[in-house]
């Protein structure tokens, strides 16, 4: 029996897991699949409420098998689901890696999953530290990051410029589509980290606004 403390889409959850006898897990090469019984799911923000999907306290049978790298067949009480690890959202090596060598070694922070195509963020406890600098979607207020890999076309507001919320800071281009990157809040542009003509990767830091 093992208890995992997770955050699923931001909600703290405690899940008790019991590995099932070997015969159920047979057929999985070690490291690529697992058969378990989920004996309890508890929302830690509201311990009185059983977690979503836990059926009247009955254990749920889970079987996970890797179909191809990054994609799992996920059987939940016999219902067949597809689970894809969205490496690109975590700044991993698959996302925008050739646009200038960003985020190398990525993978820290929460896992971004697609469960039957529905995006789920899963922070799998202590061992997944969120790196400072932040994974995709993170970032500190005032740090304006590239929403996509692409080319910096123009700088609309240089260092020292006072900006209002929504004011264009940078024009980027990808796939022949141009996009204005706007100020998240009012402030002064402290630093512009890119220059026109530069290739950037998704989530690269572009501008800091104080």
């Amino acid at each position: 029996m093992k208890t995992y403390h997770l955050r699923v889409d931001g909600v703290a959850v405690e899940v008790a897991v019991e590995e099932v006898p070997a015969d159920s897990a047979a057929g999985h090469p070690v490291g690529q699949g697992v058969g378990v019984r989920i004996t309890a799911v508890r929302r830690l923000d509201d311990p009185a409420t059983p977690g979503d999907g836990l059926r009247a306290g009955r254990p749920r049978r889970v079987d996970l098998a890797e179909v191809v790298p990054g994609c799992y067949s996920f059987l939940l009480d016999g219902r067949s689901h597809t689970l894809v690890v969205a490496a690109w959202r975590s700044g991993g090596p698959s996302g925008g890696h050739h646009a200038g060598g960003p985020a190398s070694g990525g993978g820290a922070g929460p896992l971004h999953l697609l469960l039957d195509g529905i995006a789920v963020t899963a922070d799998i406890g202590r061992s997944r530290r969120v790196r400072s600098g932040g994974p995709a979607g993170g970032g500190t207020a005032g740090q304006v990051r590239a929403p996509m890999p692409g080319l910096v076309v123009a700088i609309q507001a240089g260092p020292g410029t006072a900006v209002v919320p929504g004011q264009p800071l940078i024009i980027m281009e990808a796939m022949k589509m141009q996009m204005e990157i706007r100020a998240p809040h009012a402030g002064v542009v402290r630093e512009v980290r890119v220059s026109p003509g530069q290739d950037v990767a998704g989530n690269d830091l572009l501008v800091t606004v104080d």
Binding site: K2, E19, D52, H97, S127, P149, M175
Partner: protein
Amino acid sequence: MLIANRGEIALRVIRACRASGLGAAAVYSDADRAAPHVAAADEAYRIGPPPAAESYLSVGAIIDAARAAGADAVHPGYGFLAENPALAQACADAGLAFVGPPAATLARCGDKAETRRAARGAGVPILPGTDPLDDAPLAREADRMGFPVLLKAAGGGGGKGIHLVRAAADLAAAVRLARGEARVAFGDDRVYVEKWLDRARHVEVQVLADAAGSLVHLGERECSIQRRHQKVIEEAPSPALDAALRDAIGQAAVAAARAVGYVNAGTVEFVVSGRGFYFLEINARLQVEHPVTEMVTGCDLARLQLAIAGGAPLPFGQDGVAARGHAVEARISAEDPDAGFVPWVGRVGEVVLPGGPGVRVDGALVAGMEVTRFYDPILAKVISWGETRAEAIARLAQAMRETVITGVPTTVPFLRWALAHPVFRDGTYTTRFVETEWESRDRTPPDGAAEAAAALAHLAERAAPPPVSRDGSVWAQTARRDALS
């Protein structure tokens, strides 16, 4: 036949060449040396470095490749030089047949103001709109028309340079972006405005015309499911038209195409609002979504294009066109629907494509291939056919369930969601579907999310360091790091 394109459309034309008994020569930029269309062709010629402006958009390089291949004809595909009169003219000058309308017709269709006038002259209703204008008169005219307005590139197509402007205050910024995009994409920064109808549908009619003047339509396609003014799901026939409206719009399409002297395969675009329909433009090319028309009519449009370019008459008249059943197409692109559909580049991991009765895949998608920022992010199209609309949708929904692509985000999650949505299922959607339904969808974690996360955590904990996976997934990396710590 020299195919002056890449990706799935190059492969589509190569297949048409095979069916017609013609040899196929491909062209490639340095980014595409290992691309599927090169391997699928009989011959292949390098046309330059990765940027399209120096390769797929280079008329000189295309003509040189056609000469080197000893080709008799050039098929431009869609995008790139397909609607650029310069390639059609260069082909004519070099004694090569161009698979498309003559240069003069392309020039006329490329000038949206002129096609609007021609359509109006032929009795086809058009939306209020302006000619291409400078910034100041454009702002005056937009004010007079009343917001919202749609800002469009006069030399444009493919959704590029199009911006919806809801208020006068947003016009200047939108004009700046549209001119910038249009300059890069078409080398022409002229823009104009058109009245925007909020609860409208985008319906287009496929036409075919031979050089002798025979002109038929092959029914309509419904293309209202769009993001960034680019289509993502299309179907034929349109669930919005009844028999009378279908007949009227088909006749209007024929009249508009005739008014510009159209030859070969083309598409006449309309906006439909209630029982009113308004001409938008003529797309002088084979469209991305042409397979839905092929699935219901049984025609091979690309092959018919080759025959028409070879001087053959249309093999059927309007009475010979019959549609059967229903077809739906889903476009799979490398973009992130969970982050505003931003295009993405990177290495594709694994690919599992669907199959089964009535399911067709037109793609150029290979596991491990690189998606670059130089070209459109489209990876594949999956098209389904059914005797009824419900059957076609059910088949496509299952196909999307079978499809797995790792390594880069794709539109597949959006497509799965859309095909199950009641508004899509009942056929009442409008061009605002993505904006009103997808952006405000329920984001509650699905049943099993916690269980899946726990099973992954448990797998990581018990696993020995797994072998290095081909896509170096975060999961594999995390598992490795944990095993070592």
